[in-house]
């Protein structure tokens, strides 16, 4: 079957579409013909060219990774695909789709299937269902618009504990490292923590599931030999298992792989010894989740970490020659204007430059987080009741502790302190 998967970044340069590439690898192993489109402002495409592409390929399925920020453009491209390839089905997955409220389905006439389960399993089920003829029952792991127009939801199949059950897009040639200045790697999924602003635990579960060290090393080797050798690990907790990290770093040294790596992890997982090993293996930047420098605010958000330990880890990492990025948010429950400004001072006091990911952003209320499910319980007041049902409040809220004006003041303070004009790299 002919499938087109679309990764769309309308306001930024392209990023390795690792999640869609995982799905493409699954479909490739099943013998389907897949085109993986990476559309972004950094690699211009024309509407006419895109129309011609759909008309020539005539896909039977077009899939998108949906975020709050690209849903409008996804809908436009979905309409285009349906115009040019009549009969093709449209599937959306990704964070916006996984937790999409049922009320939103009717407001998305361009969409036929919304994925809720693990992508690799869902895509296989969707393709099999489309090949099987009319959609008369919901596809496992999706909300499906049946051929009679009614939406029906089916439970997701259980996901494997061992991620090596899935094929690798790097090893199968779905992704060519030569295409990317920086390759995104995903070695594990899931998070055992319960930060109420984050969707990761709900999306992937509390248990961390991982690829084997050998599989990751094989992927790194391909990227190091064929690409620029710059890696960006998207694992939410890169160093959750110290033994595993050691094995990975030793493997990089043993295979003599020259790589430069960006990783994100929790400060309480970093020891001076591990930092030394990371630096020796080619890690250039460690990103740490600080969120707030005020323990009371962290506690209210369910983030069980001591800011002082983050500061210590940051300083130790800087002393080890690594660059450090601190993720932080403002507008958190219980946070007052002074608290938010104290976080800015704290980041600076750690010696961390305010640039890239160290530019704070306002808390975003996305579907799937505990805060979005019940904002009032967290003291958050969404400002709009006229949003389409497929959009979450995002940053359009005030809190019991900070007005819109306060939030703007915090934004201005961060921007004034930024050395790169407040540009974020990752999110």
């Amino acid at each position: 079957m002919r499938v087109v998967l679309v990764d769309l970044h309308p306001h930024s340069d392209p990023v390795t579409p690792i999640s869609l590439a995982n799905l493409a690898a699954v479909l490739g192993r099943l013998g389907h013909r897949v085109d993986l489109l990476s559309l972004s402002s950094g690699r211009p495409f024309s509407p006419a060219g895109l129309r011609r592409f759909f008309a020539e390929r005539r896909p039977r399925l077009v899939g998108f990774t949906a975020y709050q920020r690209n849903l409008y453009q996804i809908r436009a491209i979905a309409r285009m695909a349906r115009d040019e390839a009549p009969g093709c089905r449209v599937l959306i997955g990704g964070p916006q789709a996984t937790f999409l409220p049922p009320a939103a389905l009717a407001a998305l006439p361009e969409v036929d299937l919304v994925a809720h389960g693990e992508g690799e399993l869902v895509i296989r089920a969707v393709v099999e269902a489309i090949e099987g003829g009319p959609l008369t029952t919901a596809v496992p792991g999706t909300s499906t618009r049946l051929d009679d127009g009614v939406w029906e939801r089916a439970a997701a199949p259980p996901a494997p504990d061992d991620l090596d059950a899935y094929p690798s897009p790097w090893l199968d040639g779905v992704l060519d490292p030569a295409d990317w200045d920086e390759a995104v790697m995903l070695g594990s999924r899931g998070c055992p923590h319960h930060c109420s602003f984050c969707v990761t635990p709900a999306a992937f579960g509390p248990a961390i599931r991982a690829h084997s060290v050998d599989r990751i090393l094989d992927e790194i080797e391909v990227v190091a030999r064929r690409g620029a050798g710059r890696l960006w690990f998207a694992d939410p907790n890169f160093s959750y298992d110290e033994q595993r990290v050691h094995a990975l770093l030793e493997g990089i040294a043993r295979r003599e792989l020259e790589v430069r790596m960006w990783i994100e992890t929790r400060a309480d997982m970093l020891t001076p010894e591990l930092l030394g090993l990371l630096a020796a293996a080619g890690v250039h930047t460690v990103a740490l989740g600080l969120e707030s420098a005020v323990p009371r605010v962290l506690e209210r958000s369910g983030k069980a970490i001591d800011p002082e330990s983050v500061g210590r880890a940051a300083r130790t990492a800087l002393a080890a020659g690594l660059d450090v990025e601190l993720f932080s948010l403002y507008g958190l429950p219980g946070e007052r204007l002074g608290d938010a400004l104290a976080t800015l001072d704290f980041v600076r006091s750690c010696g961390v430059a305010i640039r890239g990911n160290s530019n704070a952003q306002q808390l975003q209320l996305y579907f799937g987080s505990a805060m979005t499910r019940n904002p009032e319980a967290h003291g958050l007041r969404p400002l709009r009741d006229d949003l389409p049902p497929y959009l979450a409040p995002g940053d359009e809220f005030e809190t019991e502790w900070m007005s819109r004006r306060d939030l703007e003041e915090v934004r201005g303070a961060w921007r004034a302190a930024s050395v790169d004009g407040g540009r974020r790299i990752v999110s």
Binding site: P44, S46, P47, G49, A76, D179, L387
Partner: protein
């Protein structure tokens, strides 16, 4: 495999529409071009679009393609006369802004009015109109034909307005001003990115005088690609050969605009780096003009001194030697490192072939100490000056003062020794240079001099081997062919020797000794007619070549017949 721009590349991000083509024609062109343009593109209408035909075309495109975004830059009169056009633009954008608010996305029609203040006009009402437009989510800018006064600059800065500056000297009018800004912005974006500074700027197309041009530079040169009515698929590729010159001209002419828009530091940084890129690209004269802009944008003291040194180096590379020396003197007055100034002034003298003066400057640099020039580098430069002056002992003295092993030092010691009549010692130095591994560019020189030493020692076959290697490593010159010819002659390989001397003469037909050498080999080959002619050519150029005269006499005395 991942695809980034399916179907076809979509390079046209900007369309410039000049006022000298009827709006109806331009609207037809827009209807044709927009679907093939990048999904997020810019349309720049310089003519006011009085009847709204161009805006209508844009709206049709946006309605047809909901994925598209158009940034519509429209030059309108900043006074009352332009109010209707401004209102139409802002009013049309409102529906897209409403859509953007509803969907929490960016507006798909972005209004960017360029409010024009005529020469002699009062900018204040226009500033007020710009502020009002900004309040309606437009991103206005001002186009001024007079030098802006300080209150205007301050007000523009306060409102975040960009200033485009024209003058009576702006031959290309509004299009020239806006396309200069386009090129400048394209290059400025690269200060932090991976793209080379001299790569083609943001893709654009220009329609003027009823013709379509691939870029602003092509328009200035009158290189149009098609008529505006042409419906065939145009070629969108820029002519990259023009890019470096275009970028150089634009950055060199940017100082006034950069200052008015309060971005002197960025402008200076861009000028310095563009200048360096132009030197690397082999355009030192253009680089010097750009470096001059960096000087103009630098505050007094070390920043200006650095820019002046950069300018001097460009002028040196462009062999604009008096200007290079002047820039260095100005740099010294701005507090540049005196040792560095002395060093570069010495290099200027070297370029002037005044090694005596250069030696004084190098000595001064050595005495003053330059932070970024190692004393050993200065000693080597001094040795080279002495070598050019054929002062072998002095050259050796400086080379001896250099610490540590160096292929360059060993090579130049070899040069001194062979020229001073010590080929055996020279050979030792050259072998040491080879051991130390000279830079690839110098390897051919080392081989040549090795061959030269061996020839002095009459080790002809070995000499020939080194000279053969030298020819493979550097572009053969007269000396190569001559020396190879001599070796071959000594080895009795007259046919090959003759060919070598012919190769030498192909490079310099005025080389008397090579005519004589050719004659000698032809004589040995029994080609008496050609040998006689060669001897005669040699003597016609230089009557003092005794062996040519002897050869002629021998041939004249010889009875005709086969060679002995």
């Amino acid at each position: 495999m991942t695809l980034f721009a399916p179907g076809e590349p979509a390079p046209v991000a900007w369309l410039y529409l000049d006022r000298d083509t009827p709006d109806r024609r331009l609207a037809e062109r827009l209807d044709l071009a927009l679907p093939g343009c990048a999904w997020s593109c810019h349309v720049v209408a310089t003519g006011g679009d009085r009847d709204g035909l161009l805006l209508g075309s844009v709206v049709r495109h946006l309605e047809r393609e909901p994925v598209a975004v158009v940034h519509f830059h429209q030059v309108v009169d900043g006074g009352l006369a332009g109010a209707p056009q401004l209102e139409r633009l802002l009013g049309t954008a409102e529906r897209f802004q409403t859509e953007a608010y509803r969907e929490r996305t960016g507006a798909r029609l972005v209004p960017l009015p360029i409010l024009e203040v005529a020469a002699g006009g009062d900018p204040r009402p226009t500033l007020a109109a710009a502020a009002a437009a900004a309040a309606r989510l437009a991103r206005p800018s001002l186009l001024l034909w007079d030098e802006p006064d300080q209150p205007t600059v301050a007000a523009a800065a306060a409102h975040g307005l960009r200033l485009y500056l024209g003058s009576p000297a702006t031959a290309g009018g509004v299009v020239e001003i806006l396309t200069d800004a386009h090129v400048f912005d394209s290059v400025l974006d690269r200060l932090e990115g991976p793209l080379p500074l001299l790569a083609p700027c943001r893709p654009h197309e220009l329609v003027a005088e009823g013709r379509v041009f691939g870029c602003a530079r092509q328009w200035r040169r009158g290189l149009s690609r098609a008529g505006v009515e042409d419906r065939s698929e145009p070629e969108w590729r820029p002519d990259e050969r023009l890019c470096a010159g275009c970028i150089a001209d634009t950055v060199a002419g940017s100082a006034r605009s950069v200052v008015a828009n309060r971005r002197p530091n960025e402008g200076r940084e861009l000028a310095l780096r563009t200048s360096a890129a132009l030197v690397d690209a082999g355009s030192p004269a253009a680089a010097a003009a750009v470096a001059r802009t960096a000087v103009e944008l630098s505050v007094a003291g070390p920043p200006r001194a650095d820019a002046l040194v950069q300018e001097a180096l460009c002028r040196l590379a462009a062999t604009q030697l008096p200007a290079a020396d002047q820039a260095l003197l100005e740099a010294a007055a701005q507090g540049a490192d005196p040792g560095l100034v002395a060093y570069h002034r010495a290099r200027v003298q070297v370029a002037w072939r005044d090694d005596i003066e250069a030696l004084d400057r190098f000595a001064e640099a050595l005495e003053l100490g330059a932070a970024v020039v190692a004393p050993d580098d200065l000693r080597l430069e001094m040795a080279l000056s002495h070598i050019r002056l054929e002062e072998w002992a002095e050259a050796r003295r400086h080379l001896a003062g250099i610490d540590g092993p160096s292929a360059a030092v060993a090579f130049n010691l070899g040069v001194c020794e062979v020229n001073d009549g010590h080929p055996e010692r020279a050979l030792g130095h050259l072998d040491r240079a080879l051991e130390l591994g000279p830079p690839a560019d110098d390897l051919g020189r080392v081989r040549f001099f090795r061959g030269f030493c061996l020839s002095r020692l009459e080790r002809w076959a070995e000499a020939l081997a080194d000279l053969g290697l030298a020819v493979g490593l550097e572009t053969p010159e007269l000396a190569h062919h001559n020396l190879i010819g001599v070796c071959l002659f000594k080895l009795g390989r007259h046919r090959e020797a003759a060919a070598s001397f012919e190769a030498a003469l192909a490079l310099d037909p005025g080389s008397a000794v090579d005519w004589a050498n050719l004659g000698l080999n032809l004589e040995r080959l029994g080609e008496t007619g050609r040998a006689t002619a060669s001897y005669r050519r040699a003597l016609a150029i230089d009557r003092s070549i005794g062996f040519a005269r002897d050869g002629l006499e021998r041939l004249a005395a010889r009875p005709s017949g086969p060679p002995p």
